[in-house]
Amino acid sequence: MTDAAMHDYWQHALNDLSRCPARPEIEPLPLRSTDFATLYGVRLSSFGPYRLFGYLSIPKGAGPFPAIYYTPKYQSVLEIIPQGTANLQRSRYVTFSLAGRGQRNADSPYAAMFPGLLTDGIDNAASYPFRGIVADSIRGLEFLLTRREVDHARVVVAGNDIALITAALAKGATHVVTAPALFYRTADLAPKTQAYPLEEINDYLRRHPARAEAMRRTLAHFDLAGLAPRVSAATLVMAGAPGSLLDAAALRPLTAALKGPVTVYESQQSLYKDGLYSERWMAERCGIEDVQSILPEHWRD
């Protein structure tokens, strides 16, 4: 895949998105609002046209606040903040989580299957659902940046591959936390594992061997190493544990290609240690000095 071909592919997607106004609807959700933050349900449009849904949390008090944008995950459920995150995170950050097309709350007309989404229509780059999901994610970031409560100097985009791709294709991310899982050398790495989600690729090729080349062409547009030079935000790459499929050594071509400052963290196979590291990394970069106060109770010193 040439840089020009990748550029054209994504420029077309961005052009499609720019022709579609977001037309957000924002509605308070009292059930999930607290004395330290107000939660809103947000509906907004992406190209298609397709109506999306997200959860926007705004801290009480005088802003602007740093923001964490949780990009669409590879699961059906949309979380307000990731499971296990202290709810008090919402007292210090604006948070926005978005369901891309196919996820719950954004599953009409397209209801994605998990597993299944990764290879759904993968033999056609122009109509591959992830082209739309990336656009959805960019639309989410654009929306977040329209909020006056957000400090534009402290905007973290967090998630899996979609977080990095969003930061590559859209302006506004000052920091990125990414845990690659789907789009790094996908076709090459899939045969080395039997674990989902990459096992979807193996299933697909076993069933449709004649589509292998078309699949590779589509995946090339999404490859993180190809998009990395466009990322100028400070980036935390959450690599797998040493020896795993996506460990720091395997990700080196990606991390080396990132344009901005890079921190690589290798998983210690502990959600406590890994989670604590990323929480502290974000807090330090966002100027939050008393991170202890917004950690889960069982993670505090």
Binding site: E79, Q83, G84, N87, S270, Y272, K273, E297, H298
Partner: protein, 310 residues
Amino acid sequence: MPRALPADYRSKVEKPADFDAFWGDVLRQASSIPLEPEVVPDPLRTSGDIETFQVFYTSIDHVRIAAWYCRPARRAERAPAIMLLPGYQMDPPIPKEWARKGYAALSVAPRGKLRSNRQFNPGYPNLLTHNMVDRHTYAYRGFYVDTWRGIDFLLSRPEVDPARVGVTGSSQGGGLTITTAAMRPEVRAASAGAPYLCGFVDAIELTHTYPYEEINDYLRLYPERRADVEETLAYFDGISFADRIKCAIIVNVGLQDNVCPPETGYALFERIGSKDKRLYPYDGHGHDAGRARHTAVVDAFFARHLQDAR
């Protein structure tokens, strides 16, 4: 002040006096509904070594439940079986890795999960608090039965040895492992990781993270309903089920678990009725509950109880 040791924690959960009568009635209602299993080959996900099927069966309230079923392509006439139960937010996985270990493996999607949400779909967040003031309609009444009916499905399969059925899962899957082992005497061995749905009323004070935080959200908006909520949850708490467990069981917890507080894991373990039980606490671990190290323990446990012992 340093945090108290989780082993010293005393749970507030009290088992209702009519607990057995309540669940006996639920089981009677469920047993009147035919299972009507449907097993549909899934050629996309079938390979030379593993056969994969999409399974559907009927549960209480006539809700149709989906599941993934994998079995080794080459197997003995009667194979041991494992039922895999899902976490709260996760999409039920295709259990190929269990089939590769020689088990007929069923991964259930209880009502409201993807592929089982046509008739019942309170959504996430919301499932945990759906009808939480009424034990007769609380979301987990049907949700629990859906998993127990998975055992009926396995027992209906000619390739499954009915004397060698195990159950496992982590987080919500760990809690469902507890309730299934308690209510289905056919279960010979169980492994529960980071059990959720155990010590609800404890957990909402010990931690303020989702999904338990859904209950705090609810009680903040409707404080006058607390008594009804607590009454309902006592019927659904894994700690209330635990004394019924008689099979071999292992439980693993992370001592820094920010989702399912380790205190509740200890409280649960203390109440488990089985004489063959063991707790594996993992310091330095959160909601993974030491999975990277513990997987080998689980594999050896099931091999001993379901593969070696015939």
